[in-house]
Symmetry: none
Subunit: 351 residues, 2 copies
Amino acid sequence: MIKTITGKKDFIESLRGKRAEFILALCNSKTANIKGITQAGIPGKIYLTPTLDSEFLAVGEVRSLGDVAQTPKGVPTPALLTRGVHLLKPFSNISFLDLGLKVKPEIEYFDIFEFGIKPSVNIAKEKTFDAKKVFKKGYKFGKNYKTKEEYLIIGESTPSGTTTAKATALALGYEAKDFFSSSFKNVPNDIREKVIQKALKKLKRSDEFFKRLGKVSDNMIVFLAGFLLGIKDTKVILAGGTQMGAVLLVVDAILKNSKLKFDSKNIALCTTKWVAEDKNSNIKSLLELLDFPINAYYSDFDFSLSSHPALKLYDEGEAKEGVGAGGALVYGLLNGVLKEEITKKVESFLV
Amino acid sequence: MIKTITGKKDFIESLRGKRAEFILALCNSKTANIKGITQAGIPGKIYLTPTLDSEFLAVGEVRSLGDVAQTPKGVPTPALLTRGVHLLKPFSNISFLDLGLKVKPEIEYFDIFEFGIKPSVNIAKEKTFDAKKVFKKGYKFGKNYKTKEEYLIIGESTPSGTTTAKATALALGYEAKDFFSSSFKNVPNDIREKVIQKALKKLKRSDEFFKRLGKVSDNMIVFLAGFLLGIKDTKVILAGGTQMGAVLLVVDAILKNSKLKFDSKNIALCTTKWVAEDKNSNIKSLLELLDFPINAYYSDFDFSLSSHPALKLYDEGEAKEGVGAGGALVYGLLNGVLKEEITKKVESFLV
């Protein structure tokens, strides 16, 4: 079942039975190198996570490493969910956006769009990236994007992305400090908060908009904000949790200070139950900060039908979302795929 | 599941969820009239097999005869598999190539492309067909072929085709004598080998390339080799076993002696598990004779979920492949169709 977070069911119901293509935004942020900030990957090799996620999603094999990216306690990547849905009810196409990858995925035949973007900076340090340039690239890509399908689903794989997402929201002045999610069940607030505080301290009153973003955000957030403002007459599902919420906050902030037009009727956010029902974050309140109305939904899917210990960790609050898992689950449910089938398929990857 | 024979998974994974059209090459070779050389059809009426296969695939009825073409022991045609997949996950279009049919199929509304080609000769006799002319027709047809879909799947129905395929490979000098499959479990080597030896004895040192083919091959092999060399920028799945392997050997041999260009990246071969795991043939070694790289896959489908005695014969090694069954099964699996569903559907044709 698909449940509503904000807005009404109509948007998502109108997509029932329709085909979608899937785009995965891949991003390395050097913020992820800070020890203990994320559990989205293998310690010391966190930077490989988007690379491995894209390989697993495309071809079902993890090529740049021996095994599927697992978090330290052994929580497997949410790419398992996205791949599982793709096997049961395939997307019409899967393509990738290289928004600053350290290691290119070893896959052929799939489109990997390149933009000459480098991994974004460690926001805890006195560094900044050219957010305006990244935004413009996203805007242009969106403006020229044509799909043959009824809608797009865009997911992301950006380790430490919830940290940069939260810093982004705060830097733009949104009262959102309690709304952001994490890949941890017990969020390592000390580390994360210190990083965010360091990032925010870099900001100067005189910094213009994109300068601020360049000090605290990441390529994925900035590029997708540009993409959403550029694309026209196309329905888009942002498949993710509070990171995708931050993308919408950036869009909202830009609209306050520019003449750009944005039709939020064509956009919806879809996330997982683990994010939607998370006690430590609040996607609903986050979306209610927006000046425009937005439809948001979550897939009523959990691993209650599984007894696999690694998967049960999701139900306990680890991992939660990523690689478009929430949007993929919604796509599966919209197309008649059953919870039992998804559970079995995901379990089959772990045997 | 789809398994890899040669190459990597990327080609086939990039087609997951995409639609394909299906083309069936229909060919009578008088070689099939030799008693006991094939079990692909009804004794005395083997020539009807491609006609009946095309009728059954298109409309689910065998019109030019009372009953579905069965082999002497009652092994039903692999057209059941192709039709079964088509009912569960339809091809976007089915069309037919008349590459020398004795009896035209009784079907309307489906495209049957005509080329003025007559049944190819009995290779055991002092006869030859104009292979160059057939090749040119295939080349021209490929060059002009436009599809609206993401890819084409091409299957064939050519009784005694593995015999002509083997003769073709040997005539071209490939060390391939142990690699060719047969519709029999216990291959009638005596008859088949005698025919092949007779065919090869007809060859003269002075025979140029197409002259050699005309003495030993069949229209299907020669036409499709031309088709593959003619078609551009289109992904093609050759749906078949060692006969489609012979098509690729002819392409390979032509490339050695001509300026024609061929992008093998766009081509893959897909066959059945019964061919891929056949002890009496070796599709993998056959494909490794090619100078160009080729992706090849098989559908991990068998009748282990069925208890129908006629279908169990497949698992025992009879029939194995034909009418694009392997490629059709891969198409089904790429589009979320389950083994259980295919099994049930095929069983429903036999009740």
